[in-house]
Amino acid sequence: MAQQANHPLPGGHQLEEYTIERQLSLGGFSIVYLAHDPEGSQVAIKEYLPNSLALRAKGDVRPIISEEHLGAFRYGMKCFFEEGRALARLSHPNVIRVLNFFRANETVYMVMEYERGRTLQEFIHKHQGHVSERFIRGVFTRMLNGLREVHSHKLLHLDLKPSNIYLRGDNSPVLIDFGAARQTLASDQPMLKPMYTPGFASPEHYGNRKELGPWSDIYSVGASMYACLAGSAPQPADERLKKDTLTPAMVRWEGQFSDRLLEIIDWCLNLNHLYRPQSVFTLQKALVADIHPPHVRSGGWIGRFVDRFRSSPR
């Protein structure tokens, strides 16, 4: 089947109360537009439009959805609703906010707040290899506030990566794109094909999905921090499970960043989910308070024991 890219709605197009300005991004499942509401404030509008199932020709408004694809198209719509549901319930400065949700042109639209900025991915690209420790700590500590809010609603993001972390003008981070977010408690949902990005997805994404938990998002946080230092994504988890060639942050950047930051990154990137920080709060505490993660403490424990032995009077 020939794959054609869908044509975006043209600038100036009136969509309910919003006026489209231009296309911001085009993905396999959706198009994101920059638009403004009647008061003139800018918003981002995400249009559900899977490339392989619906086709909009140049100049058309309604996409053509063939009879045979209608079922699959509607199924994908369910996933789009899940993203909307997940986001609508969250209200946090570090999580993108949904402002409206409506149906038009045979498909559905999600209106989100828009602020000028760039993704962490773009930032990493621009500052290849020169991202400072202060920046990393600042961005991630605040981003984790948002992630904590997500987890406290019994939701997992499941597709955390630098291109889904948006930086406002003041470098305050916002979590965007909850397309993979799933309610962890709703196990009666039909099985959904896992969605993930190699390099940032945890080993649980590939293997036993029953083991997905906050620690899986935490793996992705670790991978994103690693990418800040390396300038590119770390080795994908499925490959690491076969043959782990990922150089630990502690080895690769020793002396260039604080030992504690490097330890935290390696801690998050443990293949065994039980050895990672188990909650965002634990990770945040480590990032802010500069305490040692437990696996390092075992060395310290022996050290302390030896010290005590040495200093004990004979």
Binding site: A72, Y75, M77, F101, M191
Partner: protein, 305 residues
């Protein structure tokens, strides 16, 4: 043991995938199974699932790391699967028991053993040619063998999908066993359902797979067959293994079992659940309801609006 293995299952043009495939291996033995749940009967995919699952479970119990007697294992395994399907039907008070074809193959000590019931096939390929294959338990096959119809007639015969042996029917299944077949380096053993062999002949597959990397060639083959099957094409499934006993440098995707502990078994079997590509039945009312729910949540959690 060294081998490259690939399995794939596609829905084709059907509403539903009633094919099931699995493979498992221990340090010294490999099992491959394909079952094609019969669409005419309800719950065909359940029968198929029970068949592959019960064979895989038996393998996990008994291949430690070798099977004592591969033929006995296949015979017992398929007969147990048959009874497990009947038990399921009785437990759920089904009027008509669900049915499935089944073809299973064990390889150990470089010798292949296989058994089948129904019209899912096994092909053994060497140097681009089919050197052995199962004989379908179908009326058509018998007519062909007796010379009453020609190959061309068989392809359009109205009874071409009718089989007289399967697992799960009240009649005891007829199960055919192969000979002990020694494998040579580079041999391909391919198991598939009629959705695949019905559109691409075994000979053609043998040519296509000769010398190719299975991990690339098999998905291509299946994709082509799916297109050829058309909008109403049958489900198509395949498990193919290339036996590579000698060390082959190019085959980095080859699986070596030498380092596996004696008691360990690795199994690749998709969990039973709704196939995500199932057609969704989201109605207009449900869409409206979902949008209402999201809007209500936005209003509730967003004081500005």
């Amino acid at each position: 043991m060294r081998f490259t293995i690939y399995q794939d299952s596609r829905q084709g043009g059907r509403d539903n995938n009633e094919d099931r495939t699995t493979y498992c291996y221990s340090r010294d033995a490999l099992l491959m199974v394909i079952a094609d749940g019969m669409g005419g009967h309800h719950h065909g995919e359940i029968a198929a699932q029970i068949a592959v699952q019960s064979l895989a479970n038996a393998f996990q119990r008994e291949a430690r790391p070798q099977l004592d007697d591969p033929f006995r294992f296949l015979q017992k395994g398929m007969s147990n699967a048959h009874h497990a399907i009947l038990d399921y039907a009785a437990r759920h008070r089904l009027e008509d028991s669900p049915r499935t074809t089944c073809v299973a193959c064990v390889i150990q000590d470089n010798v292949a053993y296989w058994a089948h019931a129904g019209d899912s096939r096994l092909f053994l390929m060497r140097n681009g040619r089919v050197i052995a294959q199962t004989k379908d338990h179908s009326r058509i096959r018998l007519l062909l063998e007796e010379g009453l119809i020609t190959e061309a007639q068989a392809e359009r015969h109205p009874d071409r999908n009718k089989i007289y042996s399967c697992l799960g029917s009240p009649a005891t299944p007829e199960i055919d066993f192969s000979r002990k077949t020694p494998l040579e380096h580079g041999d391909i053993v391919l198991l598939c359902t009629d959705g695949l062999w019905g559109v691409v002949s075994g000979e053609l597959m043998a040519v296509a797979l000769k010398g190719a990397n299975l991990l690339q060639a098999v998905p291509m083959l299946v994709a082509q067959a799916e297109v050829k099957g058309g909008a109403h094409g049958d489900n198509l499934s395949v498990v193919a293994v290339r036996w590579e006993d000698n060390y082959v440098e190019a085959a980095s995707s080859a699986i070596s079992t030498q380092t596996m502990p004696v008691g360990e078994v690795t199994t690749k079997l998709d969990e039973f659940g709704r196939n995500p590509s199932y057609k969704s039945d989201l109605s207009d009312d449900e869409i409206e309801a979902a949008i209402e729910e999201i809007r209500a949540a936005i209003d509730k959690y967003n004081p500005k609006k």
